[in-house]
Amino acid sequence: MTRDDPSAASPLLSVRDLTTRFYTDAGVVSAVDGISYDLAAGDTLGIVGESGSGKSVSVRSIVGLIEEPGRIDAGTVHWKGTDLVGASDRDLRAIRGAEIGMVFQNAQAAFDPTYTVGEQLIEAVRAHRDLSKAAAREEAQALLEEVGIPNAAQNLDNYPHEYSGGMAQRAMIAMALAGEPELLIADEPTTGLDVSIQAQIIELFRRLVEEREMALILISHDLGVVSQVCERFLVMYAGRIAERGSREQLLTDPKHPYTQLFLESIPDVDTVDDLASIPGTPPNLLEPPSGCRFHPRCPKADRGLCDVDPPPEIDFEAGHAASCYVYTDDYDGPAEDVPTPEADR
């Protein structure tokens, strides 16, 4: 059952068949549908995909932060050997912030506007470590310095709204580091920041991962962002893993048609006038397509095969696998009806 990293005897994090559904008034939404992966200590994993592909839900499920009406319906999440699915709130709380730190998009909103950043950092430090107020303040200041905030001592006493977007994101990262986590989960940490700040934050992640020897899960819709930090990738589509592999494997030899189209749709200077896009829209997860969830938009879809059962995961070289029928013997080539934007309506 070792999927990604055969060398890891006992991975830090082992997710198996994780399925999270939301029981909304409109119906059941399968946000995450049976995903599995492993993460060893110090690993850097990037999860990429469009909005609504289940990236965020998949990591929130790990630490039990799924809110009503969501529920983890199946699967296990083993963190250092213990299953976190169904763990008590008390046990999960002891892990959140301490062993697993989290960083979100829009860091400014992640701070309570009624307290200074320093007060909140000190609270976070003292929540996980037994320190005096003065020692916690020193630690908070050291954390701000570590994430590259200038004048850390003064900035401790500033309110979140007095921080710029980039500073707030750095402070949020400092907050996530307060418990000295072994795994940092960053959910779209650079979204909403301008490009030069994005690059600085990315650089910060790279440095922190190296210096602190912690594992990182970086979620982004932007492959460029993820590829600068992460060694390994998961490509998610409609709640399932489409393809997994190392950075080189995915960037130079993508196997899944979705990954291929995803890579082509990244703008670069030469193609600015003729930007490729994936036809169609992401599927409605209230009524997901049968078979491979990408088949309505897939240029290689084989009707009668791809739209029947979920595709098997095909292994290529070490750690590189894609869930696609194209690489099976049953595949007969694309069907006549080439997908159009209306195909999934």
């Binding site: 932060l65 709130d89 506007p113 007060e119 107020k133 006493d157």
Partner: protein, 292 residues
């Protein structure tokens, strides 16, 4: 040095509040009026020229004069002294009633708004069932059950106002609970209790305080109403409503001062709390930032 720097944000908050308070005319007027009443209530023995219960039949039903600024009642008791002592009762009711109501209403509202779902349904329907009774009727019934005394009136009125605090708190808690910083606090490993106390309640405080000043005003009116109906603070203690009740019988025979002065006392104290409440609402919104 370390303690100095860690207390600074709190000091800054207090300074900012005072600066905003001073700039708000409504709040200042309300606070001034209430301040005057408070001084009167505290120093009632020094201010009142007569014992509020001392009868003096020869001087009965005299109009306002230098010796009796508010006139006298049918037993010759000095109405000014009675109104001054009445301020004590009014203020005890105005301060204690919101506190009693908040003690239950705020936790109910916090739990309801934060957890939502079934917890919310059960708690809010419970509050609705209290709300369903007209407040006078409920107050009347509760006083009848508990027995007539100042403490019992405060408890009864406190129960009457529980749903108001529960609803106000719930509304704020509901919207704050959806905000990113609450979710972030969860992801940092904070417990529900901690989040409610430190990251949800502060956002509800402005609404709660405004509500408290409004309830204080309503409590004065309701206590006066209960006294007017004869189930208020037992005589001879001079509740404004009780003076009004007896005084109304003398309005048609020309002794207007008997009921006008306690009436004015009710009007101004209620106005003071309402003005203060309106002012506080403008001042206390944590999201309006420091430059407002």
């Amino acid at each position: 040095m370390a303690t100095d720097t860690t207390t600074r944000p709190a000091v800054r908050r207090a300074r900012r509040f005072l600066a905003r308070f001073r700039k708000n005319r409504l709040a200042v007027i309300g606070a001034t009026v209430l301040g005057l009443f408070l001084v009167v209530a505290i120093f009632a023995p020094q201010i009142a020229p007569y014992d509020y219960a001392a009868t003096n039949v020869p001087e009965r039903l005299e109009g306002p004069s230098a010796t009796h600024p508010f006139g006298t009642d049918q037993y010759g008791r000095d109405i000014f002294s009675r109104v001054v002592y009445g301020a004590r009762i009014a203020f005890q009711v105005a301060v204690a009633t919101p506190l009693v109501a908040m003690l239950v209403g705020v936790p109910v509202g916090l739990l309801s708004g934060y957890f939502g779902g079934r917890v919310d349904d059960v708690l809010m329907r419970l509050m609705d069932s209290i709300f369903a009774f007209p407040s006078i009727l409920l107050g009347l019934t509760l006083v009848a059950i508990f027995g007539q005394s100042l403490t019992n009136i405060i408890i009864a009125l406190g129960i009457v106002f529980i749903p108001q605090f529960a609803r106000i708190t719930r509304g704020s808690a509901l919207s704050v609970s959806k905000e990113a910083h609450v979710k972030a606090a969860r992801s940092m490993g904070a417990s529900h209790a901690r989040i409610l106390a430190f990251h949800v309640l502060p956002f509800c405080m402005s609404a709660i305080l405004v509500q408290a000043s409004i309830v204080a005003a309503l409590a004065i009116i309701l206590e006066a109403s209960l006294s007017f109906l004869g189930v208020g603070v037992p005589p001879p203690r001079p509740s404004w409503g009780a003076i009004l009740r007896v005084g109304k019988g003398f309005v048609s025979s020309g002794q207007w001062w008997y009921s006008v002065f306690p009436g004015l006392a009710i009007v101004f104290s209620v106005l003071g709390f309402n003005l203060l409440g309106d002012g506080l609402r403008d001042i206390l919104d944590p999201r309006t930032g420091p430059n407002q």
